[in-house]
Amino acid sequence: MTWTRRTFLKTLGFGAAGAALLNPFYRQLFAAESTPRRFVIFVEGNGIEPRNFLSGATTNALLDAGTDVGDIRHLYRNYSHDHPVVTPDSGLADALSLASLDSASGEISLQDQSAVLLGLSSKISGGGHSTETGALSSSRSPAGSPTDLTIDHYLASLSSVRQGAPFSAVRLGVVGGNTRLNYSTCAFGPNQPAPITCDPTTAFNSLFGSVASGAGESTFRERQELLDFAVDDLERALQGFSGNSRERQKLERYLESLENMVHRQEIIQDMEDLLRGVKPQEPEESELYRSESPLDRLQAQVDMATSALIGGLTNVVVIALGTGARHFSLEYPSLIDLYPDGDMLGGHDARHAAESGNQAFVHLLTAITDRHVALMASMARELEATPEVTANGTMLDHTVMLYMSDNGEKHHSLAEEWPMLLMGGSALGFKTDGRTVVYPRYGHDHNRQVSNLFNTLGHAAGADLNDFGHEGITRITEGPLSEIWG
């Protein structure tokens, strides 16, 4: 059975109208007056080939507008149109990496709840192997040194988005090796990288440890004990503190943070019944958590994030797929048949090979993006199958999902084209109706930038966000993209 929040409430004996009888947290969660606004950002490391998102109908529409993309992979070099080319009902599923949008296997079709944007630039971010946090902050941000906050944190900080959820954002991902936390993609602010949890077990323990039956439960309990110990220490320190009031305030601020964290733990415990209903498989129950295949681990992370959204743990999710200059070189054993002669090659080498035109590796990269998009589609379908409690429509209608790369269009990116796939969000104003929009190329007055898409997300979140990032005088124009929102 597909679990829904509505069926959960029904199970508990409440209809939607009975939400007022719930405890304070559930009231806040389910009876909020605000429109639910959720944001999910999938970020693929080291480039998305624009052709992977290009449908046949869009190719024809571009021809009519004077652009013949021919056979080249890096489309922007051939863009010669002067205005955005909008192709309604662009048949997205026939693009190389978008087949999973179709209903071929009897699933819900997402073609008319998606949209593709091509031609957006983000030169400020620098390109290369990875722009690190620059991709989501429209800034030049080398590894370990975010220049500013990223869009996910901006959105997560808005009360119109968070609406009382215990976690302002959930950031999950996969990388090669044993790296548990990836600091390459998100940032709270200048020099404040925000970690992405790369170990699915750690993520599970943090989000669902309170209702886990295995090691997750002990991890959750140990964190509580750690917090309790620190609270006791701070209370003791404040009792004996001899400094002035300004210095005392530093300790009080820390204590307040600890107490808020304890409170979050309590909220999560209060959500026990709800979380039990949405909890994904536990680490001990699923091989996905420990799989050698990054696609399996990613599946576990996506399932976890979906459950977190449906369970009301958060309204902002980032899923990072091998992002950051140190982390994109993944191997894909589950795609071994696509490697020439079945010989696995390191991700970096494979991408180099594709860059130099080796078609086998070009197909491999297409397949990788295809599998990632399929996982995003699986999340979208779960959300589409889950009705909102306090608003009309489904959760997908109130959730905009974005798929983008962390450096632009290719392995050694020039950051001149950033292919984007959007799903859902129709109730938030997004024209995700199957269209494709192709903007004029970088350098043209009518080119638009990734920061404009972030402006669009900001507006959808209820904020008047017309500027974002560090483009300064290289900013072409401010504000949201009318071709996709409004």
Partner: protein, 673 residues
């Protein structure tokens, strides 16, 4: 007129010419009335509206170096939240490791990372810290002396071995281990009874609930380490003063407070912070007694209160020459990067001071369009330029490290440091010769071109040290790392303003009013094909309403127009020869007034300016004191200047004077505002 009154008159004059318009940042959720967690460390609110004591560039420099007999110096008692690198070093982990991703960066609004005001631990910081605190535990959760990351103060201490066996440690063992961990691995001072008791009880509970899985003990030790590093004593270092109050209401820092204050200022880590076994083939970063063991011993036996002890230890730990550069063992994972660095080393705090004062690592965050524009080179150097910033290909140093090495040489030589910083022609350039014909030659063969060094540079320290032509470079202000850090994306951006403002504020300690909110400061985009000099002189200099502020900056920025935005020497400038000429008027130091030929001429003139040298000393004070200077610090600043002059320009002696001063050593509860 009294000194205090004089300073207020100065402040009012400043306010009159400053349009106090904070630039609204539209990306800041706070502007939307939403909670802002974008600045994670700040204590909110109350300090913002408090009247502040005049300090820093607000003050008249002449008064700041005029010590009065009845002047009493002190600093307000404070607690200082640990910094990001400090935490990494104290737990014995590597730069760039997971532990180094801890969330303890300083507030970006602080002029130096050592400033402690308003810094605490808010929820965003705590959220990250909870996920990462255990990442620092390796050296205390394990005890394998031959594994990278082992700590000398752990593996060479037999009395704590009982915690690492298979059996349940007894009470005596737990009591001893927790005391040892707190003193040698967390607090870097003896714990109080309460601190020890609390951790001991926590440790007992952890051990009681320990499982039977293979790594159960290691997990228990991680939990104990994490708990210890969650405490206020671990994250906040006290400088409140101890002992009796003197006639002026002051307390002298306690021995441990003083030893650690010096240790953190000098080396960015605690006194006795653990030595680490980095990896096979490298030496331990320090032995059993840890880093700066003399400071720890002096705290234990009380000799830290002796000025001569301080002088001796500062001279020992300040910097020096080391062919092996052991100081870098925890900074780089690949020793080939260490062997390619210069042989002069500086303590972390000293190195960081220069990075922060000169701001020369900022260029790594600044996009450079066509780095070679207007230089003698073309696009063939662009990949090399990218590699100078990232260091991705090969193992040569990056631009920022080349400037570190150049500065280290001047500072370690310790003669006329200020003057030589501004005039040295000895630059450390990257080697290129070995990359001829290599697979990465596109990104490595021309990395030295940015210094106009086009002959092959051999992979030896001797050949990397190059004396550049007198007509091309002179000191830190002409180093490519500095030039690129104080410039925008394009060669004809208003880099004149960036660089001139920096000189005005950081070498002349003269404040430039904030940009009025009503002014959209940008060149006309239709003039993109003009030189920056033409754009500035025609669009800004001719407008009377701009002259007030730009007159303070532009004449100090024009001289740098002989270089482009990336730090290359210009060969031409939009069809004309490069022009760095300027005329300085009404400078804070009248000796500087007059025509200037270019940045080299300006650097040499600044080097001769005793006024600018005082500003340098004020910057030293700020970084190593962790706060702005105020009028009551005049005797300290005067002593620092005297030490500099008497010693023939020694920065070591300047720091000794500062660490021995009342400003550094005495605290009062609260300064009246």
């Amino acid at each position: 007129m009294s000194r205090v009154l004089l300073s207020f008159v100065f402040c009012f004059a400043l306010m009159a010419c400053t349009d106090d318009g904070d630039q609204a940042n539209q990306t800041d959720p706070e502007n939307l009335g939403e909670p802002n967690t974008g600045e994670p460390n700040q204590v909110p609110g109350e300090n913002d509206s408090e009247p502040q004591e005049p300090s820093g560039n607000e003050l008249d420099q002449g008064l700041l170096f005029m010590c009065m007999d009845d002047e009493v110096a002190f600093t307000e008692g404070r607690i200082r939240r640990i910094g990001r690198s400090e935490w990494t070093r104290n737990v014995g982990r590597y730069a760039g490791s997971a532990a180094d991703q801890n969330p303890f960066d300083g507030l970006p609004t602080h002029p130096y990372s050592t400033y402690a005001e308003n810094e605490s631990v808010n929820e965003s910081v705590l959220d990250i810290y909870l996920d990462s605190v255990a990442s620092g535990s390796y050296g205390w959760a394990t005890r394998d002396r031959y594994r990278a990351g082992a700590l000398a103060s752990n593996v060479h201490e037999d009395s704590i071995a009982c915690m690492y066996g298979e059996s349940r440690p007894d009470e005596e063992c737990v009591e001893h281990y927790t005391a040892y961990l707190l003193e040698r691995g967390v607090l870097f001072r003896p714990p109080t009874d309460e601190e020890h008791q609390a951790l001991r009880e926590f440790a007992e509970n952890v051990l009681d609930s320990e499982g039977t899985e293979e790594d159960a003990r290691r997990h228990s030790l991680e939990r104990i380490f994490s708990a210890a590093w969650m405490t206020s004593g671990a994250l906040f270092r006290e400088e409140l003063g101890e002992g009796p109050v003197d006639d002026y209401g002051r307390r002298r820092l306690g021995d441990w407070e003083l030893a650690n204050a010096i240790a953190y200022a000098l080396d960015g880590r605690a006194a006795g912070a653990p030595g680490v076994y980095a990896r096979w083939g490298l030496e331990w970063s320090a032995d059993y007694d840890g880093h700066m063991p003399g400071l720890r011993e002096a705290a234990m036996d009380g000799t830290i209160s002796n000025p001569e002890t301080i002088a001796t230890l500062v001279r020992e730990y300040f910097g020096g020459v080391d062919e092996d550069r052991v100081d870098l063992n925890l900074d780089f994972r690949d020793e080939r990067r260490i062997s390619r660095r210069g042989e002069f080393w500086l303590a972390n705090g000293v190195r960081e001071f220069f990075r922060e004062w000169l701001g020369y690592d900022a260029h790594i965050n600044i996009f450079k369009d066509t780095p070679s524009a207007t230089s003698a080179f073309g696009s063939e150097v662009h990949s090399d330029y990218g590699n100078l910033i990232s260091g991705y290909y090969g193992h040569e140093s990056r631009l920022v490290e080349q400037m570190d090495d150049m500065i280290a040489r001047v500072v370690v030589e310790d003669i006329d440091v200020y003057e030589n910083l501004l005039t040295t022609r000895t630059f450390y350039v990257p080697a290129t010769a070995e990359f001829e014909g290599s697979s990465i030659h596109n990104s490595t063969l021309r990395t030295s071109y940015i210094y106009n060094v086009t002959d092959p540079v051999a992979s030896t320290r001797e050949d990397r040290w190059r004396v550049l032509p007198e007509s091309e470079r002179a000191g830190v202000l002409t180093h490519p790392a500095f030039l690129a850090s104080h410039a925008g994306a394009f060669e004809n951006d208003p880099n004149i303003v960036d660089r001139g403002k920096w000189v005005r504020e950081n070498l002349l300690c003269d404040p430039v009013p904030d940009l009025p909110i009503t002014v959209e400061a940008a060149f006309d985009p239709e003039t993109r094909d003009q030189s920056a000099r033409q754009r500035m002189s025609e669009q800004v200099d001719t407008r009377a309403e701009c002259a007030g502020c730009h007159g303070m900056m532009n004449p100090l920025g024009y001289p740098f127009e002989i270089y482009n935005h990336a730090g290359f020497l210009r060969e031409e400038d939009h069809g004309s020869p490069p022009d760095g000429s300027a005329y300085l008027r009404s400078m804070p130091d009248p000796e500087l007034d007059g025509p200037i030929e270019d940045a080299i001429d300006l650097s040499e003139r600044l080097a001769e300016s005793a006024y600018a040298r005082r500003c340098f000393l004020r910057q030293v004070f700020r970084y190593f004191m962790g706060r702005d200077e105020v009028l009551r610090d005049a005797c300290t600043l005067e002593a620092m200047e005297q030490a500099y002059v008497d010693s023939g320009g020694s920065l070591v002696e300047v720091l000794i004077a500062l660490f021995q001063s009342d400003s550094f050593q005495f605290r009062v509860d609260e300064v009246a505002r």
